[in-house]
Symmetry: C2
Subunit: 230 residues, 2 copies
DNA sequence: ACTTGTTAGATTGTCGACAATCTGATTGTC
DNA sequence: GACAATCAGATTGTCGACAATCTAACAAGT
């Protein structure tokens, strides 16, 4: 018998497709923070009844990118400067842990995948496709989590990533200018190939801090709006 | 104007109540791992239509304690030894981080709350209420996360906690015997009141490892069943 | 005996309609 | 004019029924 591994069949429910559509719209910033999602309007646009749409929304609420108030509506989460700081500081900790776990697991496939994903980032950068650039950069970053062989950690990171992707997308849309052409991932990749784990961990922190300052500045500019009650 | 803080009004949707009911049933082990949740049967028992039930189930799927296969059903997650190891190793990392963040935030209310929750654990222990003992112990443990002032971290921990609570409950039900009467939290509480942060962090690790060994042994006994495909 | 095709029953996924709730505009009163 | 009561419209929450899919049992062919 041929020893071919088939991957699971794609989800064929409307619900799953709706989730994918909505998630993409939110993470690319097409749906803005705080915006209300009108069930009837969206269900008509998608040519779908409200039932699967509502179930999809429940999933995204739990995923942390939507928020729901009974009888009032479901909204895209608001982004505050503190949210970004919180997400990033946790990300640092998780990165350090992920590198530690993944380090002894690195093999030929890991290095191949590393190059492959790095190449995808560079390509998106050359093509000036900002949305894809963000996506690929996060996928590159996610490699260590996939190799860490800890399902709970991976899951946690994926949740965190949703938000990070959203933050970056908002940032990009806000300044609405070309992406930095230089490749900030070069040294990161090199260090993951090297033999000095501590150095890789240290760099992960600093590299993050690099983009972070920009992002934070953007976040603060958002704060100018609604002064929270009291 | 009086400076009274009102807490949010209780959720009044059926969905929210269903979520609470189901979560409790799962986390206390009344619904066993792998068990299928029949929508029609449950909706009839709860005197509710399938719509809010299904929405509730979607939430719990995203919460990580249910798993769903299209057109096949929704099941309580299976618990493998590796899941427990993964959850615990991540918990250690998060604990260390939470203590670091919470440390400078400790105030009078923190210490009061600490004693209060510790007392709740002791009371549940005396009453031999194992379910409540698990609950209160996790709440005691969660204090550092609440004081860490990092919403993403808190959220992450709450997700993790769901599973830990389920694991412990299964463990308790399995051995079906009285709970250890001695108070393992005494030194933990003392260290959080002290001035040596590193010591508190170190203890958090070791304290966790204590219960962990028992739990792991139980998990391994579960593995004896279904040998995974191939 | 093994595989393949068929079918009946049960269960999940989806739909359209109705009920409950919120929002804001309008009216009435002082 | 300010304020409370009322009401209409819109939106969310829930329901019961139908459609799509799966499972397991059985029949037929090799």
């Amino acid at each position: 018998m041929a020893k071919l591994d088939f991957s699971p069949i794609a989800d064929t429910t409307r619900r799953a497709e709706i989730v994918a559509l909505l998630r993409r719209a939110i993470l690319t910033g097409q749906l803005e923070p705080g915006q209300k999602l009108n069930e009837l309007r969206i269900s008509e646009q998608m040519r779908v009844s409200r039932a699967p749409l509502r179930e999809a929304m429940r999933e995204l609420v739990q995923e942390g990118i939507l928020t729901s108030i009974p009888y009032a509506g479901t909204f895209v989460i608001d982004v505050t400067a503190k949210d970004i700081v919180d997400a990033y500081s946790l990300n640092k900790v998780l990165d350090e842990f992920a590198i530690e776990l993944a380090w002894p697991q690195r093999d030929r496939r890991f290095f191949d995948e590393l190059d492959h994903r790095h190449e995808a980032v560079k390509q998106a950068t050359r093509a000036l496709d900002t949305t894809r650039q963000i996506e690929t950069a996060l996928q590159l970053h996610g490699l260590i989590y996939e190799w860490a062989d800890n399902s709970v950690l991976l899951e946690t990171w994926q949740r965190l990533t949703s938000r990070l992707q959203m933050y970056f997308a908002l940032h990009q849309r806000a300044r609405n200018e070309a992406v930095p052409a230089l490749d900030v991932h070069e040294t990161y990749v090199a260090l993951l190939k090297g033999s000095h784990m501590k150095a890789a961990q240290r760099h992960a922190r600093e590299h993050i801090d690099l983009d972070f300052e920009e992002l934070l500045a953007y976040a603060r500019s958002l704060e100018k709006r609604l002064p929270k009650g009291a």
